[in-house]
């Protein structure tokens, strides 16, 4: 929050150049993906100064978790990045499983990978839709994205009971097995998805207006990206080949053959970030095909009591979420409640470089650079 309310009078500048126009692209703005505010100073159309303001959706998620048992704060992780509740659950389950010895059965591991990759599809398809919507296409790509997202959300509802707030992962496996017929419906969806992706790419990837609007806008160099802790598709668009599914190989990702798209690092602009997400969707489909092919039968959760007391220890579990590295840092003190519960939010840390990328660009560029970073305010403000 800025200290004094920024004065909305036209700043009186000496000399004859035009005065700076100070706009607060405020919490209530169509293209800030939630309650996020940017205090922007404009010289004509060019952005001279940009200051992000957070905190509108802050509900102190971490203090809540300190007063509840490990299991009770699992449904709250859905509300972090409310687009990808499955991957939030998995990160939290992964961190907690490091505190207690529990053996996750095979079927649960396969289902975890399937749910995570379906969530990645949902996130990337909707992000590309919102990104092009910021560019000005009146909702058509977004509606196609939502049409595909509906199908996947129906699968989530039939498996976990809720479309977005799934609360489906448990420490040592999953809450309940998928109903029969679910795997066939998922196979059918995964087989039809590449056809939709081809149509989506034909609509967007060679469109001259998108090419000229996004190329060369919001350049992020490789060194700044690594130093600023950028992770996820944004980092790979800036030329660093760093994907936690390959680096940590958590879960059973090492059994699947898939590729990680990245660039050679000389541009790293909005177009790269947009294209990396389009290509990652194809890789997720490849993983889903392999996982759905050889998923075994078996029980769904390991032997662990619902409310457990882990030995005093620290654990930092992290996964490759659709937005970047989502990490949970738990400190256990022997009681049923975590002593400290910390979420490493990829959206917030990816915003560190927002100002560096937007300065010098136009106001229209600032909107699409924010769109290309892909933030969700539930995770930024926690």
């Amino acid at each position: 929050m800025t200290t004094a309310a920024p004065n909305y009078e036209l700043l009186q500048q000496e000399g004859l150049e035009t005065s700076l126009l100070e706009i607060s692209m405020g919490p209530h703005h169509p293209s800030t993906h939630g309650v996020f505010r940017m205090d922007v100073k404009l010289d004509g159309e060019t952005v001279v100064e940009l200051r992000p303001v957070f905190g509108y959706l802050h509900r102190n998620h971490e203090k809540l978790a300190e007063n509840m048992t490990y299991l009770s704060s699992m449904p709250f992780t859905d509300r972090l990045d409310y687009f990808n509740s499955m991957t939030n659950n998995w990160a939290y389950a992964l961190a907690a499983e490091k505190l207690i010895e529990v053996e996750v059965p095979e079927r649960a591991e396969y289902l975890r990978v399937i749910m995570a990759e379906l969530t990645r599809l949902v996130n990337h398809v909707t992000l590309v839709g919102f990104f092009v919507n910021d560019l000005g296409a009146l909702g058509t790509p977004l509606m196609y994205a939502f049409r595909e997202r509906e199908k996947i959300l129906d699968l989530f509802e039939q498996a976990s009971g809720a479309r977005m707030m799934c609360n489906y992962f448990r420490f040592g496996g999953l809450r309940n097995d998928v109903p029969e017929g679910w795997l066939d419906r998922t196979r059918e969806l995964v087989d039809r998805f590449p056809a939709f992706l081809d149509e989506y790419e034909q609509l967007l990837c060679e469109n001259e207006i998108i090419l000229s609007r996004t190329q060369g806008v919001g350049n992020l160099s490789r060194e700044l990206a690594v130093n600023a802790g950028i992770t996820g598709p944004m980092l790979r668009a800036s030329g660093v080949n760093y994907d936690l599914r390959k680096v940590d190989a958590y879960g059973i990702y090492d059994r699947f053959k898939f590729r990680v798209p990245y660039t050679d690092g000389d541009t790293g602009d909005c177009y790269d970030r947009f294209m990396i997400r389009m290509l990652e969707m194809r890789e997720s489909v490849a993983i889903l095909k392999q996982a759905l092919a050889d998923i075994p039968e078996g029980d769904i959760i390991g032997k662990v009591s619902k409310v457990f007391k882990p030995k005093p220890a620290e654990a930092y579990g992290r996964i490759e979420g659709p937005k970047g590295e989502l990490g949970f840092y738990l400190i256990a003190d022997g009681t049923t409640k975590p002593y400290r519960y910390r979420v490493r939010p990829p959206s917030l840390i990816n915003l560190t470089v927002l100002r560096d990328m937007c300065l010098g660009g136009k106001i229209a560029d600032a909107c699409i650079i924010l769109g290309s970073i892909d933030i969700v305010l539930g995770e930024v403000d926690r």
């Binding site: 296409a137 090419l211 660039t263 106001i363």
Partner: protein
């Protein structure tokens, strides 16, 4: 004051004031239905015959919107310039309605059956058209300035810059047709094109039509050029602070301007009112005219459903560095092909000039495109195992 004169004027102008606003209502419905279908939605289908459940494909939706707009509260910001805040929507509507009269539409009743006397059978109809359609720029600027709101100020500035710089390609591409038709009078231009030799079927006519259509899109702030009302960047641009009926007036103004400009495009390029079966029923010319206008508007809606928006500086560069040189080159081509066909009558010269002008036009367009947008092309990506 001879009553005869008053009757003639009323007979000419009243149908315009009645037909086109109702066409406006139909177009809003058509736009929402078409956009919905493009996005695999249904679009409005609930409001049909009032107080019943019959949906009638939502045809009652424009009426409902109109009534809603009338009863919506009309909020005027405290710092706003009351007088100009009120005047802006009216000034946006007047030029749009005025230029409708210059279109060579012969309504089939009364003395005009024979079509000689038409309300505004002016010699310099085309110049009047561009002069009065320039006034809309003023209205938008006045709206942007009077609302005392930063976003509408930005929208207003963008609108003025855009419309001023797109009026020149618009006029220049019309100059080609006026040159070839030899007259500024809309009626004579229409007569030259009767019998299916529309100007759009000639190569320089086609090029001029494309430039004219793109510039018309920018003039009426439609799809790829809807920067003044870019909702993702500057909320709703110049009409952020408008609500209630003033908001509806702006929309009426925008749609009627769309009708007028596509009407002119039809007159200049698509042979206004010319079509089959005219000998049988001469009143069909009005039907063909309005059908062609709706054809163009359908393309505008289709573009709105597909294309994203240009950035301000790209918009300017596109106008000055691409459309303007193209239209000037097109005038040269048209002149050259006219004199060659006059000098060497016969079909061989005709074919030669046509191929030369078509190829020349395309090469010129590709060259200009390469200069202005050299780097933007799809890229290849690396994959790590």
């Amino acid at each position: 004051m001879s009553l005869e004169l008053i009757k003639d004027i009323l007979l000419a102008t009243v149908p315009l004031l009645v037909i086109f606003p109702s066409l406006f209502a139909f177009t809003t419905w058509m736009e929402r239905k078409a956009l919905a279908r493009i996005q695999n939605r249904i679009g409005p289908n609930k409001i049909g015959i009032p107080c019943t459940r019959i949906g009638l494909f939502g045809l009652g939706q424009p009426a409902a919107d109109g009534i809603k707009m009338i009863f919506k509260e009309d909020i005027v910001p405290r710092g706003a310039d009351k007088l100009f805040h009120l005047l802006a929507p009216i000034l946006a509507l007047i030029p749009a309605m005025l230029i409708l009269c210059f279109l060579p539409l012969e309504f089939p009743w009364g003395k005009f059956m024979s079509g000689q006397v038409q309300a505004f059978l002016l010699d310099s109809a085309v110049i009047f058209f561009f002069a009065i359609s320039g006034l809309a720029t003023l209205a938008i600027f006045m709206a942007g300035w009077a609302s005392r709101n930063k976003y509408s100020l930005l929208g207003g500035m963008r609108a003025v810059a855009q419309m001023v710089s797109y009026e020149i390609p618009l006029v220049l591409s019309a100059v080609v047709v006026v040159m070839m038709a030899g007259s500024l009078n809309a009626k004579e231009i229409a007569d030259v094109q009767t019998g299916f030799n529309w100007f759009v079927l000639t190569p320089w006519g086609l090029a001029a039509f494309i430039v004219f259509f793109v510039a018309a899109l920018a003039e009426t702030n439609r799809s790829p050029f809807d920067l003044p009302e870019a909702e993702s960047e500057i909320i709703a641009g110049y009409f952020t602070e408008y609500s209630g009926f003033k908001f509806a007036l702006f929309f009426l103004g925008e749609y009627i301007a769309m009708f007028a400009i596509s009407g002119l495009a039809v007159t200049l390029f698509l042979g206004a009112g010319d079509g089959p079966f005219l000998a049988v029923a001469p009143w069909l010319s009005v039907v063909w005219f309005i059908a062609k206008i709706f054809g163009l508007i359908a393309v505008m809606i289709w573009l709105r459903g597909t294309l994203p928006r240009l950035r301000v500086d790209q918009l300017m560069a596109f106008a000055w560095k691409f459309l303007l040189p193209l239209s000037i080159f097109n005038i040269l081509l048209a002149g050259m092909s006219h004199h060659v066909t006059v000098a060497y009558p016969g079909t061989t010269a005709q074919v030669v000039t046509w191929t030369v002008s078509l190829v020349g036009m395309y090469v010129m367009a590709k060259g200009l495109d390469k200069i202005s947008r050299s780097t933007a092309k799809p890229r290849e990506y690396l994959y790590a195992e």
